[in-house]
């Protein structure tokens, strides 16, 4: 048994552990809540994950380079609101154009962060703490305290969350969920297969060595912020489609949720390691707990945050202990 463990890469072990925790969590809630394993509940969780997943993937790439992006929640708000507002006056633009605009808007916000971090040499926690406030302020001022309502949006966007690509039994694969999954698969393949993506890990695990190896580390960090902003823009679009009614507080608190998903997903907060598959599992786990607690009769929904905080702590502690004992095991065998 130990021999098998030894052969596995620690990352693989980490993802296996995460998958087991996720299954146990689902089984637990299934035993507590009537009709939990119904397609309706799965649809509910899937559409909720669809909003957070792109943000978590972007956050993961930033964290891999030893940085953090606390502004993602505000970027989601800006993208959702501005696109909704623009559609109110230009209802005829093509849907593909709308998505591109959301991505571009997010990328622009990300580029501001990235330039300050990578070229201005200001620590990312300072930059994104400030832009978290700045982007939100811009939105509040721009909106003049008015909200976007479903009636202002074109019909295709209002119908979008109901569009089903295919169904397995009575589980429907919604278009918004598919968009999010496609983004996850693209970045999963890119990060695990493309040579250029290895630079992300190189810069994160040892910035000095990366520079010596001829990697333009500033450009890598800048790119990770642009991608994070772009994915937050995508999340903003999905958010707009899902809710239809957008206020200036849209996306508030998503920065903490995304960092939680990334950390639970096994991305090392000191950079250099982590996988998109882990992030997907981490996001699903965090969101499953979030969505299930509201339906659990025994415990009031006010327990959500307390349990979420505890879960993150347990995940990180397990990760730390596992990595250390693995290192010891390996040391003994050599």
């Amino acid at each position: 048994m130990i021999k098998i463990f030894r052969r596995l890469h620690p990352q693989t072990l980490r993802i296996l552990a995460l998958a087991i925790v996720l299954i146990l969590t689902i089984l637990f809630f299934a035993s507590q809540i009537d009709g939990y394993l119904s397609p309706r509940m799965i649809n509910r969780i899937a559409t909720s994950v669809a909003v957070i997943l792109p943000i978590a993937i972007g956050q993961a790439m930033v964290v891999m380079t030893r940085n953090i992006d606390l502004s993602v929640g505000s970027v989601v708000g800006i993208a959702a609101y501005l696109i909704g507002d623009y559609l109110g006056t230009h209802p005829d633009i093509h849907p593909v154009m709308v998505v591109s605009m959301a991505l571009g808007l997010g990328a622009f916000c990300g580029a501001i962060n990235g330039a300050l971090v990578a070229y201005g040499r200001v620590p990312s926690i300072i930059v994104t703490l400030a832009t978290l406030a700045l982007f939100r302020t811009y939105l509040v001022e721009y909106s003049g305290a008015s909200s976007i309502t479903t009636s202002e949006l074109p019909q295709w966007l209002v119908d979008l969350p109901q569009i089903t690509i295919f169904s397995i039994g009575s589980f429907d694969m919604r278009l918004t969920v598919a968009m999010s999954l496609v983004a996850a698969i693209v970045f999963w393949v890119a990060l695990s297969r493309l040579r250029v993506a290895r630079k992300l890990y190189a810069v994160g695990s040892n910035p000095d060595a990366a520079v010596v190896a001829g990697i333009n580390s500033s450009l890598v960090v800048f790119t990770s912020f642009v991608l994070s902003g772009m994915l937050a823009g995508l999340a903003g679009f999905i958010f707009l489609a899902k809710f239809g009614n957008i206020t200036v507080v849209a996306g508030l608190g998503f920065e903490l949720k995304s960092v939680a998903a990334v950390v639970v997903g096994g991305v090392n907060i000191f950079g250099g390691s982590g996988s998109i598959l882990g992030v997907v599992l981490g996001t699903v786990l965090v969101d499953t707990i979030d969505n299930s607690l509201t339906r659990w009769a025994i415990v009031s929904e006010f327990w959500r945050d307390a349990l979420l905080g505890m879960l993150i702590m347990i995940a990180v502690a397990t990760d730390t202990f596992m990595t250390r004992s693995f290192g010891r095991m390996k040391g003994k065998s050599e």
Partner: protein, 321 residues
């Protein structure tokens, strides 16, 4: 060399401070009265008390994101205890003990299990706030004893309210500890290089534990002052304060990488932020824009010196990057 840099940083803050005060005085002549200055402090008193503890934590190269949640937890616990008939005096002591416990719990994971403080306190930010929400759900509690509200609102010693008095005492005590004692030197040494400090015989885990317990108890105290000043508590009391608190520390010239900064710099930064906000309020600028201006100031305060350093010595800037 390092000393010269310290002096110039604090000098810069002093210039900004004088400019802000001058501008405010021109806009509103009644600005420089003692009463207005006391009111100015009183409006953010809970935050600036926690800023002092956070200064030591960041110089130690750690961060405590859970402070605002501990403030909220302490305030909510106080509310629930008083509502259920606990004497307010006993409730205060219990809340301070809760703060110590919360800080010690943070310290256990950070100092002994050695998980990064950013992760631990982020989880605790969510968890402590979650417990506060469990305690109060979506209701508010008021109806505290008269004397408790007075402590938060009215003058305590001369014209000074209790909060300001606590702030001044903490400022002097922590200033002396940080700059005049061996413990203070250890805080800097660990912040500069924890590994070297450990080999030099500094008990790193013990110093960190003391700092996080300090941060916990100071946050709990600030939470009580907040409850007293507003004469009511809700589950979201003090939510989001951590950002303002960290901003004030960093603006004071404390390096996010640890090992650099001073209490005087942070005091200047507190004065700048308070006066700037007050001045903007006098000009009818809303709270959101005020926060944005302080955000820009924060980025500029790090970006400016960085760019200046790079134009002065391009090789050195590259080497440290």
């Amino acid at each position: 060399m390092i000393l010269a840099k310290f002096k110039s940083w604090e000098g810069m803050l002093l210039v900004i401070l004088i400019l802000t005060v001058l501008a405010n005085t021109v806009i509103a002549p009644q600005f420089l009265t003692l009463q207005n200055q006391i009111n100015l402090f009183q409006l953010s008193i809970e935050k600036i008390i926690v800023v002092l503890a956070m200064t030591l934590i960041i110089i130690n190269s750690e961060i405590d994101l859970s402070v605002a949640s501990i403030m909220g937890l302490s305030a909510c616990t106080f509310g629930v205890l008083v509502e259920n008939g606990t004497p307010a005096g006993l409730a205060i002591i219990l809340c301070l003990m809760l703060g110590i416990l919360a800080g010690a719990f943070n310290a256990f994971w950070i100092a002994y299990v050695q998980i990064p403080s950013l992760v631990v306190t982020l989880a605790m930010l969510i968890m402590y706030r979650g417990i506060a929400r469990v305690l109060l759900e979506d209701r508010g509690i008021n109806g505290f004893p008269q004397w408790f509200g007075d402590l938060g609102q009215k003058a305590f010693l001369g014209p000074f309210p209790l909060g300001l008095f606590i702030f001044l005492v903490l400022l002097i005590v922590l200033g002396l500890v940080l700059h005049r004692t061996g413990f203070g030197r250890e805080v800097y040494v660990i912040g500069t290089n924890a590994e070297v400090a450990r080999f030099a015989g500094v008990r790193v885990a013990r110093v960190k534990t003391i700092l996080f317990i300090l941060s916990g108890v100071v946050s709990a105290l600030a939470g009580l002052l907040y409850a007293g000043r507003l004469a009511s508590v809700r589950g979201d009391a003090a939510a989001g304060f951590e950002l303002d608190i960290i901003t004030m520390v960093l603006l004071g010239g404390v390096s996010i990488f640890g090992g650099r900064g001073s209490i005087i710099g942070v005091l200047f930064s507190i004065l700048i932020v308070l006066n700037l906000r007050n001045g903007m309020a006098l000009m009818n600028i809303t709270g959101h824009i005020q926060t944005a201006v302080i955000g820009v100031l924060l980025i500029m305060s790090v970006l400016g010196p960085n760019l200046a350093e790079r134009t002065k010595s391009p090789d050195k800037a590259k080497a440290t990057a």
